[in-house]
């Protein structure tokens, strides 16, 4: 795996803001977000509803134009392309959405739906497109017999597979996966996560993997960004952010996620956040999280913390990040064990 560094990132976002509405009722769904994803990397975005993660995903592939900031696909600025150039470029940056039902025309067979993007892009001959569609359906373990069926004849998991096949037929480089396993039962979800991993390896893909599910994101991702209310609270390697969170919000999220624990351990100290995500029309001043943060002090309500790189590769936007970090540093030895023991 390549970390950001010498290579040009497959996808990078710099100070991106996406706002909706006009003057008085303006909502900044994404507010000054920066990150970059290396080629071949799986970059996870965790956030609750209303955190702006889906908007971020859409803007990242060029479906929505950001109101400020920059997006780069490799060294290409997708928003500087002409319409014709963008149509060609779009094949490389695909998005897969949560609900496969909304993604298929109920009057077309699965095969027709998978062929359609190639027909629009005018790749190959009719026979080649058909062969390519069947090949990709086979890759996601859907038989030619399944290909002849209509969407309603497939289960949720099978439809999501077909949806993936359709994204793959045009040889994408980057896939934005927006809640792609959220609608599936856990046994099917496991199968799908294995498939995403295999496809990434076999086709050398780069993923922006968006989900509200901590288990899913931390399992599949190399690095993760934790979003809250349009901003990134923390970025770091998936395992570190999960087990040694440096932002109180990441810590609370981790704590809220129910775990299968030994029965006696279930009474463990849990952080239960008070209140809900504030109104988007009236965002709190200072740190966006201060209204629910168990650590918040006056400073948090007035000054917005800058995002800073606390230790290499770990970016945090919190006034107390140093204190959070100090808990994980080996002071007298054996400290490391303590912070891992709460798993």
């Amino acid at each position: 795996m390549t970390m950001a560094g010498v290579d040009v990132p497959a996808l990078s976002v710099q100070d991106m803001t996406v706002s909706f509405g006009r003057t008085r009722t303006i909502v900044r769904a994404v507010d000054g977000v920066s990150f970059s994803v290396a080629p071949g990397e799986i970059f996870g975005i965790i956030g609750e509803s209303g955190s702006g993660k889906s908007t971020l995903g859409r803007a990242a592939v060029g479906m929505i134009t950001p109101s400020a900031g920059a997006v780069r696909h490799g060294d290409v600025d997708p928003f500087a392309l002409s319409r014709a150039q963008m149509n060609a470029h779009r094949r490389k940056y695909q998005i897969i959405a949560q609900d496969p039902n909304a993604a298929f025309n109920p009057r077309m067979t699965i095969l027709e739906s998978v062929i359609e993007p190639m027909a629009i892009a005018r790749t190959g001959t009719r026979a080649e497109r058909r062969a390519r569609a069947l090949e990709m359906l086979d890759t996601v373990a859907l038989s030619p017999e399944m290909a002849m069926r209509y969407p309603h004849e497939l289960s949720g998991g099978q439809k999501q597979r077909a949806n993936i096949a359709r994204a793959l037929v045009l040889d994408p480089e980057v896939l934005v996966c927006d809640e792609v396993v959220a609608a599936l039962d856990v046994s099917i979800q496991a199968d799908m996560l294995n498939l995403f991993w295999r496809l990434k390896r076999d086709f050398n893909l780069t993923y922006l993997f968006i989900s509200h599910d901590l288990n899913v994101v931390s399992h599949i991702s190399d690095r993760v960004a934790v979003m809250y209310f349009g901003k990134i609270m923390e970025i770091g390697p998936a395992d570190d952010v999960m087990n040694r969170p440096l932002h109180p919000y990441s810590e609370a999220l981790r704590s809220a996620e129910p775990e299968i624990a030994a029965y006696e351990q279930r009474a463990r100290e849990r952080i239960i956040l008070q209140g809900e995500i504030p109104s988007a029309l009236n965002p709190p001043a200072g740190c966006r999280f201060h209204t629910r943060c168990p650590r918040a002090v006056d400073l948090c309500a007035s000054n917005e913390p800058d995002q800073r790189e606390l230790i290499p590769g770990r970016f945090v936007a919190c006034h107390f990040a140093e204190e959070m970090l100090a808990r994980f540093l080996p002071v007298g030895g054996g400290q490391e064990a303590e912070c891992v023991s709460q798993e």
């Binding site: 609750e48 046994s187 599949i220 809900e276």
Partner: protein
């Protein structure tokens, strides 16, 4: 809701029984539903007990019959297209033998239900206060003013900061978490003996989920309410339930105390569910997915229903298998003894 609020004449069975007694006992429940293709068996011989104050988790994937079990107990299925057999004993009465009128006195008063989607359970054209008041007035002979006060107390008890104001709002102006609090307030306002919570937090964010679970368990513990907690989330069961049952294809396939079932599952399906939960510690691409999918209700395998997907299936598994009881546990598997002997006991740490 204040405990001092005087109760009006109580319709239906009285509350307050010894804690070691069984509150609800479902025996050999069978449910058939009718669609355009005729009748189909949805629940096949479901039996379980729930005691006062106890939290029983029902887990399983979509279509396993867990919600249908809840709707059968509440008798919320349309009688023309649903047929129920068996016995559902609640506080000494067989619910299946009650008239609609008798049942409606129990529903909301002695047994209440919390649904997954509060928006589809709340009426959009009435304020939440009016809806809770209606529940109170259905079951108690109290004035409108008294019912309103109880509604406001109920909203207060579920942690709503300005209950008097919120009571005057319509459901649409509340967030998902607030709506679910309102549902809980409505479920608790008549101080029922049993709450059936069907995926009460599935539509909510995880930080709101922990608020709601905390609230539900605290209130029920305080009042001695039993909870039948239906979920697909094993981790929620692990943290919140005393006992659990796993359902598959309309049958119970495993049951017992949560601590035992999750530490040493006996059924390959329960094991499979546990192993398919993604985790940061597990190597990518190696999640143990359960192959295949749940068979159609009209084409259930003749033997063990899990047999076509089971990694341990043998020829013997195509024969019918009964639910066995071993001490506090129940298991429906031909090979559980062999498998329990060979498999290394799964510890919570291994997850």
């Amino acid at each position: 809701m204040s405990a001092t609020a005087a109760k009006g004449p109580v319709a239906g069975p009285e509350t307050g029984m010894a804690t070691d007694k069984v509150l609800l006992s479902v025996e050999d429940l069978k449910l058939d539903l009718r669609d355009e293709n005729g009748w189909v068996r949805v629940l096949d011989g479901v039996s379980f007990d729930i005691r006062p104050k106890e939290t029983l988790g029902v887990v399983g994937e979509s279509g396993c019959g867990k919600s249908m079990t809840a709707l059968s107990i509440m008798q919320l299925l349309p009688p023309r297209s649903a047929r129920t057999e068996g016995r559902i004993n609640f506080a000494g009465r067989d619910l299946l033998s009650l008239s609609r009128r008798q049942m409606s006195r129990i529903r909301g008063r002695n047994i209440s239900m919390i649904f997954q989607e509060p928006m589809s359970a709340l009426d959009p054209v009435f304020t939440v206060g009016a809806q809770i008041r209606e529940t109170v007035q259905c079951h108690f002979d109290v004035s409108k003013r008294e019912a309103d006060e109880r509604a406001i107390d109920a909203l207060d008890s579920v942690g709503i900061a300005a209950p008097r104001q919120v009571a005057q709002l319509y459901p649409m102006s509340l967030s998902g978490g607030m709506r679910q609090r309102v549902m809980i307030a409505m479920a608790l306002v008549c101080e029922p003996d049993l709450i059936i919570a069907d995926e009460p937090t599935t539509a909510l964010d995880v930080t709101i989920q922990s608020q709601i679970m905390d609230l539900l368990l605290n209130l029920s513990q305080k009042r001695g309410t039993a909870i039948l907690f239906i979920t697909h989330n094993l981790a929620l069961v692990s943290q919140n339930c005393d006992r659990m049952i796993t359902m598959y294809g309309g049958q119970i396939i495993e049951g017992g105390p949560v601590s035992e079932v999750l530490a040493r599952p006996l059924h390959p399906y329960t094991t499979g569910l546990l192993h398919s939960i993604p985790d940061a510690g597990r190597a990518r691409g190696t999640l143990n997915a359960i192959p295949g999918r749940v068979p159609s209700l009209r084409a259930m395998p003749p033997g063990c229903r899990f047999e076509p997907r089971c990694p341990h299936a043998t020829a013997h598994c195509t024969q019918a298998v009964a639910l066995e009881r071993i001490a506090e546990r129940q298991i429906r598997c031909h090979r559980w003894q062999e498998l329990a002997g060979s498999a290394a006991p799964m510890t919570a740490g291994a997850l």
